[in-house]
């Protein structure tokens, strides 16, 4: 059996969880797939069946209302043992990255983190995962009977087939926790994390100042995307949060579309964006290394091109 840890947000299963469920279904063949939900208010979990779950498992308790690294790890490890799962998959979300290593350590299982390809070979999971922020890809084999992987958001395709699954409940671990989330200071409403965004419009030193990021925000908003920045832009003191930084020293991203504006293309930045399906570069320096990577290159002044692009996208959508 493949067990998939899934997350709920605002009454819906998060997209990265649906991606990993879809992949579990492909890997499992005729073997069963179970979706595991841990929390207090578990509404909307039945939809997991439409993405391949034969069974939907709930571990529900008021003690699980807020996220705790160790309590969630205990609950997930309990479910692995109770169901006799051989493979555990989680999306490499902030929670998946936080709790999966604890589950692996607790159960003595191999863990492949942030993988981009999965297959079954000789009865065991085999994973491909980027290392050195995407400068190299490693194929990873497991030596343990239980194999755990976290999947990179935005990489695995969604696959839905309408069907029903059975819901079952497992007991919650006792409520003692070692650390817990007391509060979340939310980003602006509806703003996705860079690692989950489908479209990223990023600015570099060529933006010249903080105010000009407004141009990128307008374009991103028109395309339903989010704004990112190079290290040079973050280091320039323009009040851009570190969490917006893309590259080896920031976030490694894999959007469908990455638009690099005024970014020269330093090695450590490029390493973080090679997972993008399409890369657009806008830069006035025709020799900028970013153009070697771009699918579509625009040599020009971003202060003229970006507003025209926003206009053209708006017009195309009408």
């Amino acid at each position: 059996m493949i067990l998939v840890f899934c997350e709920i947000k605002d009454g819906s299963i998060r997209k990265p969880s649906l991606e990993v469920l879809s992949e579990a279904r492909r890997l499992a063949g005729s073997d069963p797939v179970a979706a595991l939900f841990v929390g207090d208010n578990l509404i909307g979990i039945e939809n997991a069946a439409n993405y391949g779950a034969d069974t939907i498992i709930k571990i529900q308790s008021p003690a699980l209302a807020a996220y705790s690294s160790d309590l969630f790890a205990n609950a997930i490890a309990d479910a692995v043992i109770a169901k006799g799962a051989k493979i555990l998959l989680l999306s490499a979300t902030s929670i998946g990255k936080d709790t999966a290593p604890r589950v692996a350590a607790r159960l003595g299982a191999g863990l492949a983190a942030d993988v981009t390809t999965l297959c079954i070979k000789n009865g065991r999971l085999q994973a491909v995962r980027p290392m050195y922020a995407g400068k190299a890809n490693a194929t990873v084999d497991f030596n343990t009977d239980l194999q755990i992987a976290t999947t990179r958001p935005n990489v695995f395709a969604l696959a839905s087939v309408p069907k029903a699954g059975t819901v079952e409940t497992l007991p919650a671990p006792n409520g003692d926790f070692k650390s817990i989330v007391k509060e979340i200071i939310a980003k602006g409403s509806g703003k996705l994390d860079l690692t989950e965004a489908d479209v990223i419009v990023a600015g570099g030193r060529g933006m010249k100042d903080e105010a000009s990021f407004k141009l990128l925000e307008e374009l991103a908003e028109t395309m339903g995307g989010v704004v990112g920045a190079s290290r040079a832009a973050v280091d320039a003191g323009w009040n851009i949060p570190h969490s917006a930084q893309v590259g080896q020293t920031g976030k490694v991203v894999s959007p469908t579309l990455y638009i690099a504006c005024g970014i020269s293309g330093a090695i450590q930045h490029v390493a973080g964006i090679t997972g993008s399906k399409f890369i657009v570069a806008i830069n006035k320096d025709p020799e900028a290394p970013i153009f070697k990577l771009a699918d579509y290159s625009i040599v020009g002044d971003l202060f003229e091109v970006v507003p025209e692009l926003t206009k053209a996208v708006k017009a195309a959508k009408v």
Binding site: Y67, S69, D70, S94, I95, K97, D98, P101, R102, A104, A105, G110, L111, A112, D114, P130, M131, Y132, A133, G134, A136, A138, T139, V140, D141, N143, F177, K178, S179, I180, V181, K182, I184, I185, A186, D193, D198, H242, S243, Q248, T249, G250, T256, I267, Q268, T274, F278, F291, L293, D295, Y296, S297, I298, D301, E304, V305, E308, L309, K311, A312
Partner: protein, 249 residues
């Protein structure tokens, strides 16, 4: 207060990566090696606690002779002692966590600091694994930290925003960029570090849970298209391509 800081030596982030003849590791020739940048934030936070709370800071690394460089650097910056767990190259984060947990067990460290992810294996797992093995709390990917005698309050990067994570000491904290601005070593520190010993502990790692069987460079991207004309024409060509080819509009 006793603090352990785990440091990893990695290739400089500006390095080009080449694959070794074995086909399952990087070619280490001609690489410049640095302390993994996230580990520098971990070390800096420990050194600040040394100054404000008289903490005693031990730096630890795992690897071969070369890894002594990051320990020497930590001593130069102000770490009180340094330990090298001597072993061959290891890819498995759980083996590293087991070695670190075995070392730390029973030594009464109040905080174990890590970088949240090393810039090489990119596992981002060793800190949380070590926490689980030692049955400690954790705060992972921390950008702000407050410590009292018995507890911590940490801001960590969550997908929905900043999460305030609370727990008691002893604990594992993994550092993220933004936590602090690391200091540079001064000449006095560098000279003093030369006289401080690095304790070496032989460390046999058995039973790897995962194995890298192949390491390969990513396939080169296909040659791109250059869009000419004035900004209006360039924007129009791009929108057409994004609609027809990339199908994102």
């Amino acid at each position: 207060m006793k603090i352990l800081v785990a440091l990893k030596q990695v290739p400089d982030t500006e390095s080009k990566i080449k694959i070794a003849d074995s086909g399952c590791a990087i070619d280490q020739a001609d690489l410049k090696w640095i302390t993994s940048p996230n580990d520098e934030y971990a070390l800096e936070e420990a050194l600040r606690l040394k100054e404000t709370r008289s903490a005693e800071v031990t730096a630890i690394s795992i690897g071969g002779e070369k890894a002594k460089d990051v320990l020497r650097n930590a001593l130069a910056l102000g770490a009180d002692s340094a330990v090298l767990l001597k072993t061959d190259a290891v890819d498995d984060p759980l083996l590293i966590a087991r070695a670190l947990a075995a070392f730390a067990d029973g030594k009464n460290f109040d905080i174990l600091f890590f970088g949240h992810k090393c810039y090489g294996n990119d596992n981002g797992s060793v800190g949380a694994m070590t926490a689980e093995l030692l049955k400690l709390p954790q705060a992972h990917v921390v950008t702000k930290l407050e410590i009292s005698d018995t507890a911590f309050r940490a801001e960590r990067e969550g997908d929905a925003g900043i999460e305030i994570m609370e727990g008691s000491l002893p604990t594992v904290i993994t550092a993220q960029r933004g936590l602090n601005e690391p200091r540079y070593a001064n000449l006095k520190g560098i000279m003093a570090a030369k006289k401080k010993p690095i304790e070496e502990v032989d460390c046999a790692l058995a039973d790897a849970t995962i194995k890298i069987t192949t390491l390969a460079l990513p396939a080169p991207r296909a040659e791109g298209k250059r869009l000419d004309g004035d900004p209006v024409a360039q924007a129009a060509s791009l929108v057409a391509l994004l609609h027809n080819e990339a199908k994102v509009i």
